[in-house]
Symmetry: C2
Subunit: 355 residues, 2 copies
């Protein structure tokens, strides 16, 4: 970071939200729904999920213009029972669909103790933790699963890419401590990290990817000649498969060879599948007691003696909360190439540029 030219510009949260809102309005989404999407996308940037926030805007707009996404969706319940619901997203923007599904899960969990809401005919919805954390303010646990929107993973021992990095996120409320928020892909590295390495001209560490001979692939510019490795070998393969069966197949959403690569295709609906589960802690025990138990556990883990050279123990989600504190204080950092691409988009859409 010695090179001042690489220090990213900062934009304010309201500025960025207003820009995203203008962009979606320009392609036919209503002002109110454009505002909702903008708020959720910026929330991704605020929590430091840079690969899943405004960075995706040009791609989302391209796919809307290509006819791949429905700008006037009728998002509705396709099925419902006491402990579950199935949401049909009518091919709307994933953020709108997942917001609808998560609100439904929270509402149902108040009565039922827990609600599992499956989603089909949705689209890319940003980072997994965006939805897993929504139940927290209702003193509920959130659990999110999804089928990724591009296959980069073969079955263990295979070379045909039939699986995605299918993520899982779980958010658990605490008392004085930060909530515990796990948000992970089932591959050693998410594909976005490979792209970042390529952009920076850096090599990847061994263990991220292999080529079609099974040999380590270190040059991210050759990423298309190989595939990602799952965590724990066959275990991560099993996890990616199971998450895909629950979030995709069970909901009637795309899985396996039906997954559309939304990076390469601007015209085909993805039929993205997700699951959001809301667990009402009060159904199990008094919420105050639970939060205190989580605090105690978090402190015990943090106070563990460390390996040589390890400064401190981290809890899942701490990084996001640190990013959040920084962004709320200083605004959202945008790299020069990202800012250029957003202002190019502004020109194409004939809307006011950012800032």
């Amino acid at each position: 970071m010695a090179d001042t030219a690489s220090v990213p510009l900062r934009v304010s949260i309201p500025q960025l939200e207003a820009f995203i809102e203008r962009a979606f309005e320009a392609v036919g989404i209503s002002k109110s729904e454009a505002g909702i999407i903008a708020e959720l996308m910026v929330r991704a940037d605020v929590q430091g999920s840079e690969g899943h926030g405004v960075f995706r805007l040009p791609q989302y707009i391209r796919r809307i213009k290509g006819g791949a996404v429905n700008v006037k969706p009728n998002i509705r319940l396709a099925r419902e029972a006491a402990g579950m619901a199935l949401v049909d997203g009518d091919n709307g923007m994933g953020h709108l669909v997942m917001r609808f599904a998560t609100h439904k899960a929270i509402e149902k969990a108040r009565e039922s103790g827990i609600a599992w809401v499956g989603v089909r005919k949705s689209n890319h919805a940003g980072p997994a933790s965006l939805y897993a954390t929504m139940p927290l303010e209702h003193d509920m646990i959130g659990l999110y699963l999804a089928v990724g929107n591009a296959n980069h993973l073969p079955p263990w021992g295979g070379i045909d890419m039939l699986l995605s990095t299918n993520p899982i996120a779980v958010a658990i409320p605490a008392d004085d401590e930060l909530p515990v928020v796990l948000d992970m892909a089932t591959t050693v590295a998410a594909y976005g990290k490979v792209k970042t390495k390529a952009q920076r001209g850096e090599m990847m560490p061994e263990g991220w990817m292999v080529d079609r001979e099974g040999k380590p692939l270190l040059d991210p510019k050759r990423a298309s000649e190989g595939f990602l490795l799952p965590i724990g070998g066959y275990k991560g393969y099993g996890l990616a498969l199971i998450i895909g069966l629950l979030a995709g197949t069970l909901n009637g959403a795309a899985m396996g060879k039906d997954v559309v690569d939304f990076n390469a295709d601007d015209t085909t609906p993805t039929n993205t599948g997700h699951v959001i589960v809301a667990i009402n802690v009060e159904a199990f025990q008094p919420i105050a007691q639970f939060k205190q138990s989580v605090d105690t556990l978090v402190r015990d883990l943090r106070n563990s003696r460390t390996l040589p050279g390890v400064e401190r123990i981290h809890l899942p989600g701490e990084g996001s909360y640190a990013a959040r504190a920084d962004r709320l204080e200083n605004g959202i950092p945008l790299s020069a190439p990202l800012l250029a691409s957003l202002n190019q988009l502004a020109g194409e859409l004939k809307i006011a540029v950012l800032g």
Copy 2:
């Protein structure tokens, strides 16, 4: 296996069940409940989960004699709502408690579409897949989580063992294909595998364990000087933590420093926590359609081209079904040391020996 002395003896399923039943009756468990435990323990051996079947009998009996386990439990619902229940196992044998909880989950999921049943005050219950697979015959998906009964895992970067190998199992019904059954610990190797290596005088591969300096630990006889490694580094640490929060903390069961090492302690109740979730596929889509989709996916994965040297693609659970076919045909293999320990137990309990 050239050494014929090491070829294990085979006993029939009814013989082994009757023996286990006699053992539990001898320490005060009713004949009917002893029969249920015996059937479930042998089912573990039938599916090839050798470390979780009759192998555990001497330890279970030792803990009952030590007063750590209640032989006359009043297993009951502590809380219930439409989508959930919380079972209090009254410190009974884990098999009885988890059978009760799983039956409750299946029954509730018929009405509610899905049921999440938490369990506290239970004990070690055998392999995770034993309960995850129970919903299959009701055309339901099963999902099981548990807190392990000994801590072998520190938080990532730490050296204090505050986490267990907390397993997850998920079973998904198929049509002509075998069900997809994932059953995995969140560590690279389960601790049982380390014990097996020690027994055989073999070294462990790098990546299973490290010592307190963070250096690879290869000699399984030095296992107590180090700890297991989680899959995917900090990701597996996060998974073990989240599973423990859901299966332990949320249910009011032991987690973190409260976990009792049931290998070393014969007198303290473990307050083991589990979760079983039953998902009624018919709530989401017609079961026939779902099973056909699973078959198609399984075949697509199996038909993937392979890496050099890989004979074929495996689906999670295939190994267990192959073991099952063998055991049903040929009986349960028992190693000479295991048979000796069982017949020593028979002497102590003054019951008829095996076979």
